[in-house]
Symmetry: C4
Subunit: 237 residues, 4 copies
């Protein structure tokens, strides 16, 4: 058992550091967790610890009620959200929470991220849903647990299988992403951020196409043919 | 012949790694291939192998029907698209497929990328076309081959020489780019991504110019002259 | 006392270099300062010195009237702004000024940066205010001191506690950010830049959602199921 | 004299490499030159040579008519543009041409880049002008020389001193930037790119402010106070 927990800490540590490497977090924002369903133990990032100081042994181990079973550090303040998701989405093994720039923009717009192309469709079977905003009551009492509950409610109301759309946008907050383990959740968070960005630029492309005019044939001819074909005079030819 | 195939694998490996270096791919997205037209053999990235684990000997060698002629790995799932292009565009020797952020935005907008300036005109002789969306029938059967066919159809319908416009946007998907070899196709993919981005910002510049007002003469005077001329007091003078 | 000043220089040096590491400054733009309230001495970046040449001993020590108490270098031309803030905002110990891209955009738009989400709310208790433009008189005489005064005026008029909203946008100029010390002010400047960016993309997301349509069910099915479940044929299986 | 020319090559080489370091060029786009006005010799990047292969001795030395006075390589195809500027703008000593992303967007929009803030005003005394498009005749004959002439015409028509606004946007093309030497021109090109970007985001900020609404007081309270003051429960306390 000891070994299983050390291994869990290692994996959660690696996933948290991968968030930094992929540019998904700044400062101490964001956290990754993984669950050992056999032991009923979840490993999660400690609250507010800078990534450069983070070590595998700092990963906090909590039981399904959120009680720390080992270690002196406080777990992430988002721990109750993670635990609700592990309880309600039985098929998942790892969770990632970030405030990555583009996915957070969609969460702040309080809009689902529609599937505008195959990059999205490869990973998410339809729009990534956005929750409703929390009520004042939900915010003032047990806020982080309610964040988990509103995610579950969203998937239930929309009839979405969380294994088919392994991410959500929490309204006015940021994304939560999950998968079979923490490493897989990180990978899906990378995809979410990328498709969130591409979706924005799709809109700007649409506008550019409608409103701008191309260059003249003369300029097109000049620039293409000064680099191509017999009359080219660019380079050391 | 053995040496020619080893060399082909090397070149395809280098082109795939260059995609990563140029920031055109994330995770395992994207692939590059090159053809040895004499041998009728195409080298292409294996499917779903992480770039950090990729080695030259992993490059899958397939014949023109897509049969693997050497190696244990499955070729990229996009192999049938590459093969259609090699068959129909006889002047090309290398192909690159990415989901690079800005080019993909144009593909998702289902709009051709117009030529808005000389950066574009230097490499593409006119707009980079966008295919029509595939039909349900084309999607459900032999999807990747139909992706190649709709690219060819697009160039034929528009009467574009694929050597003069060496790239296409597949609607709701992403770009395919080609050239005399894989290295050249990578370079053209870099250009495509750059001009796709500049085209977006051209639209925002146009709007900014129409809607915003410049600073006052007083502020302009203050900031310019505190750094320039006789009364300057910025720096160690 | 000598040691206290050396230590102050070290901390101010570190904060200035952290601005570079976080990508908040280009060329010689931006500066960080910290005050030793006991000694009444402020350490600040010298004017126009390139970051790569900056050493702790270059940090200029000035008293509360801006007189250099040690060193041969001229202090940042923004020193009078820093001093006004230290005088009027008694609870702060460090100040950072940058022209970071996204926060500066909001300053140029002459709009407060509204709180669109929890990333913002975690650090700023409400909108980050924007000053009024300076008058011609304020610009032409004692410009940098007036910049400080208009910041103070803005917080007084709006009744904002500068410890609850530790940043401001100076109209048509750029942000000033503060905190208990210079290191903390740098961290807050990182957050400001990030939430300024996310706020922009929130607007674009809103537009994209209103104006674009998602892909067909057929394309969604194809791409999701070619990578997931029993019929998947992506990767090395 | 030999030494002076070696030194000129060194400086032009350094300026060209600085363009890469500052992220202002991709592939082989862009070039920097410097003139030795005493000798009447201009050093400029050779055409189409990749930056990673560039060495100081590759810098091509040309006289004021563009004749190569030393070396086997062809000078940049933009050499005639540089020479017109050196001839007509007698106070300048170095020129940089890039297709940097944001400045090029403004050139493609065929709009001057207005001065929206002090970052701009610190370096450019007013809007950075945009030329008219070249005529078909100008494009088809002596294109690069006409590019220089239309720049000069723009400054003359607008009555702008090129030392006060040391840059121009060539319509549908890209920026040219100058200064007392090549190193200074590179620095100004960095500023131009940065203010071109900030100007775009100023427009988006303006729109975001007009169209989006902030979060509720309840959410603001929750997030700010869970990290600040007596009831805070974030971090390791």
């Amino acid at each position: 058992m000891d070994n299983a927990l050390r291994h869990l800490q290692e994996k959660v540590y690696e996933a948290n550091m991968a968030l930094v490497r992929h540019g998904l977090v700044v400062l101490t924002w964001g956290n990754a967790s993984e669950i050992d369903r056999e032991l009923g133990i979840c490993g999660i990032k400690p609250s507010g610890v800078p990534y450069e100081e983070l070590r595998p042994e700092h990963i906090v181990l909590v039981d399904m009620e959120g009680k720390v079973v080992e270690g002196d550090l406080r777990p992430s303040s988002d721990t109750p959200t993670h635990l609700v998701l592990y309880q309600q989405f039985s098929g998942i093994g790892g969770i990632v929470h970030t405030h990555s720039r583009y996915a957070t923009a969609w969460a702040q717009a309080m809009r689902p991220l529609p599937c505008f192309g195959t990059t999205h469709a490869d990973v998410f079977y339809g729009a990534v849903p956005c929750t409703r905003p929390l009520t004042e009551e939900e915010i003032s009492g047990d806020y982080e647990r309610h964040t988990g509950l509103v995610i579950v409610e969203t998937f239930q109301n929309l009839g979405i299988d969380p294994l088919h759309v392994p991410a959500v946008l929490v309204a006015q907050h940021a994304p939560f992403v999950w998968g079979e383990n923490a490493a897989k959740a990180v990978e899906t968070a990378v995809t979410l951020e990328e498709v969130a960005a591409i979706a924005l630029w799709t809109q700007v492309a649409q506008e550019a196409w409608q409103k701008l005019s191309p260059v003249s044939q003369a300029l097109l001819d000049k620039h293409f043919w000064r680099k191509h074909g017999e009359g080219a005079y660019y380079g050391q030819g």
